[in-house]
Symmetry: C2
Subunit: 374 residues, 2 copies
């Protein structure tokens, strides 16, 4: 059902999308400001379910690519994504029926609302991952057969690039090199598709789910209830799957490298409460990819691994990780569309250099999930 | 005066342009084949002097960029430059009156003829350097105020890129990164301009001069005369200046690195004949940049430094340099347009990392030039 998204919903979405972002997707605060500013100026944005799209409608996914930590220091002017969206529309010679996020994540879930408000078109309640991923071919649209090109990129310095390639891996290589030269990040429009494609290939209802997640957290905080319990309950009523607490502890080490358009590294967490005496290591490449407790894998990509501030359940992006934070590590099962054999070839643990097979959260934590089946 | 260029003239131009290319500009043989094949198929190409162009005519410069040695292993399909030329024409929404080389050099002087023949338009007898240079802003068009963008790039794998930037240094950075991802080299169209721009900013008559140089060499060889003397005599009757023999000897060392879209290194030459007991070192970045004999600079960029096979006066590109070659090192004064204060800020020795001031060949070798003044 179509609904209208205003500043209040963006506030909630910024929290929920950062949880789904698994540490990636960019700074939620910046994306929120951009979306709220545009909504204040141009009015609320209509959110459409995939099934409400005409089959032949042109849908243009849009967002930011690059190492998100660079974006934190380099505030976007706000118009770059709009220009990429309009640039691709112009190149295709057809008006877009709606915009859609490429991924779920702090910045990439909210920025498309700024474009939608300015262009006065609806936004589709779906995306190509239901989480965040670091590379342009790591998206259901690629897995299920779409071409990412033509792709339009803009930098905040005013650079423009239109790229066409014969395959999506070449698109990743060329656009990544451009993003690096654009200053580390870029604003892009790619994977233009039809309404029919959206229904067949996108992960549905990820925006409304992000809003529900954020609402659960902020309402619990208002009522002085435990925001973590509220959050976990909401995940249990979604196409994802019930979240599980993987660890609680204090960050004792963070190691980060930024280069080639990515942020890579790991964070070490010393357990407390029932995790006292244990050590959690989370390895990330833009997003959290593998969580290991005392040598044992407790969650791995494509399942979602999100670190939250313990008291507020506020999600922490990889670039914001700092020594001393008291955190809860949460695992969320990824939707089924993300777990097919074709999909795991594109974003299974080995695609990021980890020599392990993917085991779903529900199997790694069989007892917990049996207990919560009903 | 307009003239018509056929396969015979391309044969000569390939030699002459490689001499002007100062070791860069790509493999003359490949460019020659591409141009001759196109001329055989589509007919001769009309060569226009800059003054024959209407002031408002659209002129599109076109050629190859990247580390030319990669091109040697990866034969271009032949259509990439044409597609870049047509791509830029299409983007600008206007038919080009003529094509023009970006630089003088083995491949980049002849490839535009393949485009001209296929597009059935004339080629302008001029370019933006009168030699070869490694970077996209190292061109008179940039020095005298033109923007390189919009720029269209094609790879032989079928990738396409349209780039627009606010300045030419950003264009260099972004397009270089794209060229590297395209496999090391790319085929480009950039610096679109008017006929009036050509008259004010291009180095004139460089194609016809290249043909004359090549003719002098091949005619001398046919008549069993010394090709080097013939070549030097022709340079004396041009807007360049009389060439000077800097060294004769045998290559005893070549050191080359290919990376970031460039080929860099140096060649050491052990003197013979009147240079016996002396050592020449030539440092190159795509093209030869500095020639030093026993610690003394004998020629530096932007003057031309060309290594020729001693017996045939056949120019040797940097990627073809090999141990054992018996060579003559030739210096050719660059045209005055290339020596202005603004110009030297863009391609003086310091722009390539050499901590020396530019001293013109005529001052470095005052006695020789005084002797040949009349």
């Amino acid at each position: 059902m179509a609904s209208w998204i205003g500043e209040r919903e963006i506030e909630d979405l910024a929290i929920g999308a950062a949880i789904l972002g698994s540490g990636g997707g960019g700074d939620p605060y910046l994306g929120k400001l951009m979306a709220q500013k545009a909504i204040k100026k141009y009015g609320k944005v209509k959110l459409l379910s995939p099934h409400e799209l005409p089959d032949d409608a042109l849908i243009i996914p849009s967002g930011m690519m690059g190492a998100p930590s660079v974006g934190v220091e380099k505030v976007p002017v706000g118009n770059e994504v709009y220009m990429s969206f309009k640039g691709l529309e112009e190149y295709l010679g057809k008006k877009a029926y709606a915009i859609m996020p490429l991924e779920s994540g702090g910045m990439n879930s909210t920025i498309p609302f700024a474009v939608a408000a300015q262009a006065a078109i609806p936004i589709v309640d779906a995306d190509g991952m239901g989480r965040a991923f670091p590379e342009i071919q790591m998206i259901t649209f690629h897995v299920y057969g779409l071409k990412g090109s033509p792709m339009v990129m803009h930098s905040f310095q005013g650079d423009y690039c239109l790229i066409k390639t014969t395959d999506n891996y070449r698109l990743e290589r060329i656009s990544r090199a451009v993003a690096v030269q654009m200053g580390g990040d870029a604003y892009v429009a790619a994977y233009s598709m039809t309404g029919k494609d959206v229904k067949e290939m996108a992960v549905p209802n990820t925006i409304s789910f992000g809003i529900r997640l954020g609402q659960a957290v902020s309402e619990a905080l208002e009522r002085k209830e435990n925001p973590l319990d509220a959050l976990i309950n909401v995940t249990g009523q979604s196409s994802y799957g019930r979240a599980i607490v993987l660890f609680k502890g204090k960050i004792i080490d963070v190691e980060k490298q930024i280069g080639s358009g990515f942020i890579r590294g790991h964070v070490s967490v010393e357990g407390f409460e029932e995790y006292k005496g244990k050590l959690l290591n989370v390895y990330f490449q833009n997003e959290n990819k593998i969580a290991i407790v005392d040598g044992q894998v407790v969650a791995s990509v494509p399942d979602l691994i999100t670190l939250l501030e313990k008291e507020t359940a506020n999600p922490i992006t990889t670039e914001a990780l700092k020594y001393g934070y008291r955190i809860v590590a949460l695992g969320i099962p990824t939707p089924e569309l993300m777990r097919t054999e074709e999909a795991l070839k594109v974003w299974g643990p080995r695609c990021f250099g980890y020599d392990i097979n993917y085991v779903p959260l529900e199997e790694l934590h069989r007892e917990y999930y049996l207990r919560h089946m009903f």
